[in-house]
C-alpha cells in the first residue's frame, strides 16, 4: 500500500434513491475508491447537522450526503429540507474553519449507479488533496463499550 493519505469518508445515503444507486453501482461492478463508508437513513431529510458534526469529530475527513433528485423524494419533499439545511450548515462549518469542499450534497437516483461511483471517486480525490481534517478529540465513549453513554437515553426515549 502506498504512503499517500487515505481520506476517511462518511456518506449518508437515503434508502430509496441514493442507497439503491450505490447498490446499482455494485451490481454493475463499477469500481471506485474504498474510502467512503455508507450510512443509511430512510430519507436525506433525516440527516441532522449534528450527524455531520459527529462524523467530523469522530475523525472523518469529509462527509457526503446523497438524496433523491428534487421531485423524486419517496417522502415527497424530505429532500427539499436537506437542500434548505445544507447551505446554512455549510456557512456555519466555514465559520468554524472548515474548507467548503469537505461536506458535499449530491442528488443520486436509484438508476444512477455510474453517478454514485463518479461522485465517490471525485470526492475521495478532492479530500485527498485537502489533506486530513484532524478534528477528532476525546469523547465520552469508552471504545470497549460503544454507545453506553447514550444507552440510558435510548431506553427511555421511545416507547416500543
Amino acid at each position: 500500500m502506498s504512503d499517500q493519505f487515505e481520506p476517511r469518508l462518511i456518506g449518508f445515503l437515503c434508502r430509496w434513491c441514493s442507497y439503491n444507486g450505490a447498490d446499482l453501482a455494485g451490481t454493475s461492478r463499477m469500481k471506485y475508491p474504498p474510502n467512503l463508508v455508507p450510512i443509511k437513513t430512510n430519507c436525506s431529510g433525516r440527516v441532522d447537522p449534528t450527524h455531520i458534526f459527529k462524523a467530523l469529530a469522530e475523525g472523518a475527513d469529509g462527509v457526503l450526503i446523497a438524496g433523491c433528485h428534487p421531485g423524486d423524494c419517496h417522502y415527497i419533499n424530505g429532500n427539499y429540507r436537506t437542500a434548505g439545511r445544507f447551505p446554512l450548515m455549510h456557512k456555519m462549518l466555514e465559520q468554524l474553519g472548515l474548507e467548503p469542499g469537505r461536506v458535499r450534497l449530491e442528488w443520486v437516483s436509484a438508476a444512477e449507479g455510474d453517478k454514485f461511483a463518479r461522485v465517490v471517486t471525485e470526492f475521495t480525490e478532492e479530500i485527498r488533496a485537502l489533506g486530513p481534517l484532524g478534528w477528532k478529540t476525546q469523547t465520552d465513549v469508552d471504545p470497549a463499550k460503544p454507545g453506553t453513554a447514550a444507552s440510558d437515553r435510548v431506553e427511555e426515549a421511545v416507547p416500543a
Binding site: 455494485g26 471506485y32 415527497i76 424530505g78 444512477e112
Partner: protein, 657 residues
Amino acid sequence: MAEEKIAVYICHCGTNIAGKVDVEEVTRWAAEQPNVAIAREYKYMCSDPGQDLIKQDIKEHGITRAVVAACSPTMHEPTFRKAAGDGGLNPFLLQMANIREHCSWVTIDGDAATEKAKRILGAQIHRLPLNVPLEPIEVPVNPNVMVVGGGIAGIEAALKLAATGKKVYLVERDSSIGGHMAMFDKTFPTLDCAACILTPKMSAAGKEPNIEMLAYSEVTQVDGYVGNFKVKVKKKARYVDVDKCTGCALCTEACVVRKVPNEFDQGLSKRAAAYIPFPQAVPLKATIDPTRCLTLTGKKCKQPCVTACGPEAIDFDQKDEEIEVEVGAIIMATGFQLWDPTPETRYSYGHLDNVISSLEFERISNASGPTGGHIVCKNGEPPKSVAILHCVGSRDENYQEFCSRVCCMYSLKFAHLIKEHLPETEVYECYIDMRTYGKGYEEFYKRLMNEGVHFIRGRAAEVSDVGLSETEQGHLIVKVEDTLLGITRRLPVDMVVLSSGLAPRDDAKATSQIFGFGCSANGFYLERHPKLEPVSTITDGIFIAGCCQYPKDIPDTVAQAGAAAAGALALVDNPTVKVEPTISYIDPEKCSGCHICVGLCPHAAIQYNAEKDAAEVIEAACKGCGVCVAACGSGVPQQRGYLDEQIFAEIEGALVI
C-alpha cells in the same frame, strides 16, 4: 444496560464476497469487537442451513443481537429478519452490513476491500446494542385495484384481476381503451389482425362487472401508501351524456367542423369535432373536442349534432368531474410513444413527401385507415419500390442508445404486407442487425428472405430527393453503405418507411412523480430489480407492466401484465399488510409546542394537541422519513429504528479503524 451478545455472520456469497474480501480475517477481527459473542463465516448465509445457523445460535447461545455481513439489505434483510424471528429474537435486533454491493463488488484491491468491510461491519456492531425490539405495524388493505392505462397491458391486467373477483378501476386518458395496438394492421409473426385479437378483450373489459371503466379520465393526485392509496381521478367532460349515448355516430357525421387532424390515423385523415376515435371503440361513446367545437370555443353554431342526436345526449354544460377512489394496489400500464424521427434531419421526415413513420404505415396498410388499406404514396399511386430503414433514433448515441426490440420484426412485417398488397413492388430493408429473437421470429425472417425482399446490411445515411442521374429523378434516394458488399449504394425508391423505436412518453417522469416511484436513466419506469422484480417498483403497492417499463412486443406485454396482476393480487388478497414500524415518536413532556414540525411533515402526520400543548404523531399516517426529527431544535421527536444515538453509534463504528 446488560451486556449484549452479538452474533456476527460473514457470508462468502460464493466468491462474490470471498473472492475479494478476506472473509477469514474479517471474521477474526469481528470476534475481537466489543459485545461480539460469536463470529462465524459461511458460504451462503441466505440458504436454509445459513439461516439455521442464526436460529441455532439464538436458541443455544442466548444471542441477543445479530449482524449478517453479506449482500444489500434490499436483497435479504427480510430473509434474515424472519430467520431471527423464527429463532425467537425480535427481527429488529438484526442488522445487515452490506459488504457486497458496497464493498467486494466495487473495490479493486483486496486489502482495501477487507478494511472497508471491517468498517461497514464495525458500524453495525456499534449500532446493535442500541437497537430495541419493534413490532411491525399491520394496516388494513383495500381489496380494490387501479389500473392506469387502457392499452393491451392494462386491459389484460384488469381482466385477470377481475376474474379473481377483485374490483378494478381501469383509467384511460383517451376516449376509448385499446392503446397503440388498436392502430396496428397485422401483428407479427402470426400476422393476426390486431383489431381481431384485441377487440374481444376490449369488449370483455367493457362488459366485465368487476371493472369500472374510467375512460377519458386522468389521475391528478395520489396519496396514501400500500394497501391504502387515495387516488383523485378527473373524468374529463365529453359534452355527451354517456348514459344516453348509443354510439350511433350520427353526431360525428352531422358536425360542421370536419378538418381536425385525426390523431388515430396519425394525422393522415381528418375527423370532426364530434368524434368516435375508431369504429370498435370501447366505450362506444361520442366525444366532443372542446378545442375545436364551435359552441365550446364561444362561436356560433347551429348545433346539427344536437338535432341529429335521437337520445338527446349532447350536453354542452357538462363539466369535468373529480372523483376520489380508494385502492390497495396500482398497476401502471401507460405505454409508450413512437420516437419522432424529425430530429434526424438526414432522413428528411416532415420535409419530403412519402417519407413516413411506422405508425403512419400501419394506418395506411390498415383496411379501416385513411387509404382504405391501399398502400399508396401521397399522390394516390402505389409505390413501385419501398425502402424500410431500421434503427431510426435507436442504438444511437445522439438519440436513444437502447435497442427497441420490436422494430426489426415490425419492419419485416411491413415488407411482407407490401409484398402481399403489391407483389411487383421492390422492397429494401436497411438494417444493422436482424433481431428476430422471439418464438416464430427467425422463421418469419427466413420467410421474408424467400419473398424476394432485398436485405442491405447498413444503417441508412440519408434520404433525399436529389437525383444524380435520369433513373434517380423523381424518386427518393436512400444512401446506404452495404457493409457486406463493401460499397455505398443509392436506392431510388418511391416510399421510405422509418422504423423508429419506442420512446418513453413525454410525461412519464411527471407521471412517476405523481405516483411516487422512479424512472430509469432512459426514461422508462424503473423496476424494483431488473431480473427478479420486473413488475414491481421501489414503492410497495405500485406495479408496472408493458412498454412503460421498456419496449417489448405484445406476447411479453401480455405476460408482464399477468405478472403485475399476480403481484397486485398477492397484496390485496390479504386483509392486512405489514409496514415497517420505523415511525416517529414525540414525547409530550419534552415538546414545547412550537409547531415547527407540524408544518414540515410531508404526510401531514403531525398534529398539535392543544390540551397537552405538544405536537403528536398520527401513527397511521407517519411514513418514517425523519424530517421532523432533524428539524426539531430541541431534539424531541425520535424515529424508532433511526434514533440519533443509533446513527451516532454507526458513525463511531465506521471510523474506529
